[in-house]
């Protein structure tokens, strides 16, 4: 029962803290732009406002209306499988593969909301989302699998424990770096902000989303950002492990904020790639990662 309680706490943690991290990032981007920027709690205000706004429906299909609900639910479900500074609450329910495919389920919901909305811009966005998924998903998976090879297990807890007990090696460094780049893409940050690309296709799959639907999709993106940051920190930078679990959690949150700041810097100094450039880029990353995986298999 205790683990279920912990799972519940972790879901709430993701749901409630994710917008704060977005606020931190926005502030940083503003600072680089030499602006004052919005207050840290601005994302909460945005979400609250959107939740009360009128919902415009362009297509009658029920999946169009509820894909945002299902997408957010999928991301929140992954919250029970991932470590945030401590062991995953429901580790016995799923491993890294289950985690990746639940994230994919959320992406599928974005795609479905795009194709059901009847807008050609959304369809282009959906097509791009799928292409990004095609190329980014293997990158994330191979990075995590290299770690799994090292730890001899596909469970997050065991991978984390292994990494905490060992010094970094070549293969873990390669895996960590490539995973970082993949995370930038998963967070829809420049240079990989190709799916939404508001100057080109006006938020792509979200062009016809409005009111509470848009709020949930935005929340989903914040939560995804939070979850990937947590996974990256817990799997690749678990040191130093401090003893009271609550302290470790706070430390992890701090490290996550730093990671997101780095992502923010990457976001601010880069132009957007075209989709074909991004696809080629990630395919090259896959090749590098396979070399890293080979290193992991021979034990370095």
């Amino acid at each position: 029962m205790n683990s279920y309680l912990l799972a519940f706490v972790q879901i709430l943690l993701v749901l409630l803290l994710a917008p704060l991290f977005e606020g931190v990032m926005r502030k940083l981007v503003a600072l680089v732009h030499s602006r004052i920027g919005p207050p840290l709690h601005q994302p909460y205000l945005d979400l609250l406002k959107l939740l009360g706004k009128e919902e415009l429906v362009t297509a009658p299909h029920p999946l169009f209306r509820y894909s945002a609900v299902l997408g957010l639910a999928a991301i929140l479900t992954t919250a029970v499988l991932i470590p945030i500074g401590m062991l995953p609450p429901l580790e016995s329910a799923g491993d890294i593969l289950v985690f990746i495919y639940l994230i994919t389920l959320a992406a599928v919901m974005v795609v479905i909301s795009g194709v059901t909305s009847d807008s050609p811009y959304a369809a282009i966005g959906a097509s791009r989302e799928v292409m990004m998924l095609l190329t980014v998903e293997p990158v994330i998976l191979i990075a995590l699998i290299s770690m799994a090879v090292k730890a001899g297990s596909t469970r997050f807890g065991e991978i984390m424990a292994w990494q905490a007990a060992h010094a970094p090696t070549f293969s873990t460094l390669i895996a960590g770096l490539t995973l970082f780049i993949a995370i930038v893409a998963q967070m829809a940050r420049l240079p990989f902000d190709i799916v939404e690309a508001d100057q080109e296709i006006m938020e792509g799959p979200f062009v016809e989303q409005s009111g509470p639907k848009l709020a949930l999709f935005k929340w989903m993106i914040y939560a995804k950002q939070f979850i990937f940051a947590a996974v990256f920190i817990s799997v690749f930078i678990p040191w130093p492990v401090v003893q009271p679990a609550i302290l470790n959690l706070l430390l992890t949150l701090l490290k996550m904020a730093v990671l997101l700041l780095i992502v923010g810097v990457v976001h601010v100094v880069n132009p957007r790639l075209r989709i074909d450039q991004a696809v080629r880029f990630f395919l090259a990353l896959v090749v590098i990662e396979i070399a890293g995986l080979a290193l992991a298999l021979v034990g370095s």
Binding site: A68, V108, V115, I142, A148, L293
Partner: protein, 686 residues
């Protein structure tokens, strides 16, 4: 056993009755459905009996060919029972679906009595293939199956390209059968009998005395079964033959015939071949071929724009997954039996899932054809408005085949990944194969997003076709609903089918030699899967995570409603421009263009989208690089000339049958003289 014979009787009686009922198009459909329904009932009783009381056998041979040492013996063990159940359910759904589907105008001129009797005859043959315990009669039924399926491929086809598909199918599968024959005969030389139990002993003996020959025999069996399963490059016939057949027949092929390749493979490589280094070598080969098929088949499916051709290439890809799983299983059975059993089980489990979602998808494509008269996914769109049930089942089946949790495809693919990755920890090549499988799973998703996105969403375009109002008839909706429900059920409760699968494979090995089911998958129907490999566990608890997903969805829905936002229906926004529905539809062709441009075949100046040769080539290409094109297009320089020369030979032969009695007499006299001369020379002039 009696239940099985009664079922046989049902199918055959149905086939005869269908011929008798004849021209009444509705009645003949119901006759076929009735026969299949009773047959299915009997088969399911037989299957339940087997799973409850253990394998049964017909005991004494029913038919004997004394000169050959062949005897018709039926034996239903757990593996046979599993396949019997799959085939019976498919036959039931296919005949139910065909009842309305075959009434469309497209098949008006075709004789339905032949179609149904061939269909039932086909099912009867397929059912026989999985229960005979004698290689000779296995071949006999295998051939009946191939011939009847050929007749369905060419049913009502006037177009040359379709007839060509039939030719190609006929030729390739018969070459495959020849390989099976060669393998069988080589074994027979040693055993003196075609019975499976004797062949098993012969294999064990051959392994000691002639290991090289055994490899050759296994290679022949592999080629034969892989061809039927559609594994590339031997499965070249599949993407041409499937779209040519009517939708119910395609579903029947996908649901039963191609799967028999897997049945044969498991029967020979697990049931007959003793565990040895041979198993390992062939495990690796099977896995490599599987991974190749996954890659080429699915990447090719991505560029297809004909709904059924797209699905056919996915059949190849999905069969690749099964081959990969079974190959991995075979490789590790000897060294790490847990991984071995996970792999084998995952292969058969994936087969069950594939039957459910792929038949469903063929039914979906058929429903679209029924409604719009086209299979080109560029030409239709927005059909979710007219076909809500078809759209919903298509989405479920698509997500299932793409391996999205919590649907059934994810459970089996997850097991395949686990087997490949865990095996890969010790034998790295399997990690690469596993990564191919994982990457292609995403490609499958992409392909099916295109499939259902383009068919069912976007602006509905009434292109003046004979599209009637309302969804397809209930007889066509029901099979789709049942199959989609199976996708969800097996996804949420993977332990249920895995229990059957485990029993069916474990029985092939000496009792007690394989780890128990509970120690592999973890116990409890509701507890989800918890694999235990080499001290570390990996889990997928579908039910628990789905419940959590449901609760999270409730939470999200609460947030969604919390603001009390009003709902207003508006027009789609085109940046202020006025556009017609036709102009704004994002067509299937446009999906993933940049990605498709990266993955294209490029050798020198020669270039084409995708990496697979097709039989409808633009003329221009031939002039550019004739040599290369001709080399790839087997149709051109191998199958067609072969078929043509065979026909020419037959013509020459038939020319002797001129119908003139005098000529026949002359032939008789000449033949008698020849026989006399031969006899005379043999007897040495005495």
């Amino acid at each position: 056993m009696n239940a099985f014979f009664s079922a046989q009787g049902c199918y055959l009686a149905g086939a005869l009755l269908a011929l008798l009922v004849g021209g009444k198009r509705k009645a003949v459909g119901w006759v076929a459905f009735g026969a299949a329904a009773f047959g299915t009932l009997f088969i399911l009783t037989a299957v339940l009996g087997v799973f409850r009381e253990g394998p049964v056998s017909s005991g004494l041979p029913i038919l004997q060919v004394p000169g050959l040492g062949a005897a018709l013996i039926y034996q239903i063990d757990y593996l046979s029972a599993l396949f019997l159940a799959i085939i019976a359910v498919v036959s039931l759904l296919v005949t139910l679906y065909a009842q309305r589907f075959m009434q469309i105008a497209h098949y008006r001129a075709g004789s339905l009595r032949y179609f149904y009797s061939i269909l039932l005859f086909f099912f009867a043959a397929v059912l026989n293939v999985v229960v005979v315990a004698d290689l000779f009669f296995f071949f006999v039924f295998w051939e009946i199956m191939t011939l009847t399926s050929y007749l369905m491929v060419i049913f009502r086809q006037e177009e040359r390209v379709r007839l060509r598909a039939g030719y190609k199918y006929f030729l390739i599968t018969h070459i495959a059968t020849i390989f099976l024959f060669i393998g069988g005969i080589l074994l027979y030389r040693l055993s003196g009998s075609f019975s499976f139990s004797f062949l098993k002993m012969a294999m064990a003996e051959m392994q000691q005395s002639q290991p090289g020959l055994l490899h050759f025999v296994l290679g022949c069996f592999f080629l034969g079964f892989a061809t039927k399963a559609g594994i590339l490059p031997m499965g070249d016939w599949l993407p041409d033959a499937y779209p040519a057949a009517p939708a119910p027949a395609s579903a029947a092929f996908a649901g039963s015939m191609t799967k028999l390749g897997i049945y044969g493979l498991v029967r020979v490589f697990c049931g007959l071949l003793p565990l040895s280094s041979h198993t390992q070598i062939w495990g690796l080969i099977i896995a490599l071929f599987g991974a190749g098929s996954i890659l080429v088949g699915t990447m090719t499916a991505l560029v297809q724009e004909d709904a059924k051709r797209l699905l056919s290439f996915h059949v190849i890809g999905q069969m690749g997954y099964m081959f990969l799983a079974i190959g991995t299983g075979l490789y590790f059975l000897r060294t790490q039996p847990v991984i071995g059993m996970i792999g084998l089980g995952a292969g058969i489990f994936h087969l069950i899932n594939h039957v459910s979602y792929k038949s469903c998808l063929f039914f979906n494509a058929g429903a679209v054809f029924y409604k719009t008269g086209t299979r080109d996914i560029n030409k239709v769109g927005g059909l979710a408005r007219v076909l809500p049930v078809t759209a919903a089942t298509a989405i479920i089946a698509s997500l299932s085949i793409a391996g999205i949790p919590p649907f059934s495809g994810f459970a089996s693919k997850w097991l395949i990944y686990q087997a490949a990755l865990r095996g890969g920890f010790s034998v790295p090549v399997f990690i690469i194969l596993g990564l191919i499988a994982i990457f292609i799973s995403a490609v499958t998703l992409a392909s099916f997003v295109k499939f259902f996105g383009a068919l069912f969403f976007g602006k509905y375009e009434d292109n003046g076709s004979k599209a009637r109002v309302g969804d397809v008839p209930a007889a066509m909706r029901l099979p789709q609903i049942i199959l989609a429900a199976l996708c969800i059920l097996f996804g949420l409760l993977p332990q249920l089918p895995l229990g059957w699968v485990y029993r069916s494979i474990a029985y092939l090995f000496p009792p007690g030699s394989m780890p128990a089911a509970a120690s592999i998958y973890g116990g409890g129907l509701l507890n989800g899967l918890s694999l235990n490999v080499a001290g570390s566990t990996a889990a997928w608890n579908a039910l628990l995570l789905t419940v959590i997903f449901g609760l999270c969805a409730l939470l999200a829905w609460g947030l969604f409603r919390a603001g009390g936002a009003r709902v207003r229906s508006v027009e789609t926004w085109y940046c202020g421009e006025e556009m017609s529905d036709r102009d704004t539809r994002y067509r299937a062709h446009g999906f993933y263009l940049p990605f498709k441009q990266i993955f294209r075949l490029r050798i020198g100046r020669y270039e084409r989208p995708g990496i697979y040769p097709t039989i409808t080539w633009p003329k221009r290409l031939f002039r550019k690089e004739p040599a290369l094109n001709r080399a790839i297009d087997l149709d051109r320089w191998l199958y067609q000339p072969l078929a043509r020369s065979a026909v020419r030979l037959m013509r020459r032969f038939s020319a002797t049958h001129s119908g003139v009695p005098h000529l026949y007499l002359l032939w008789l006299a000449a033949g008698a003289a020849l026989a006399l001369i031969i006899l005379y020379s043999f007897s040495g002039g005495k």
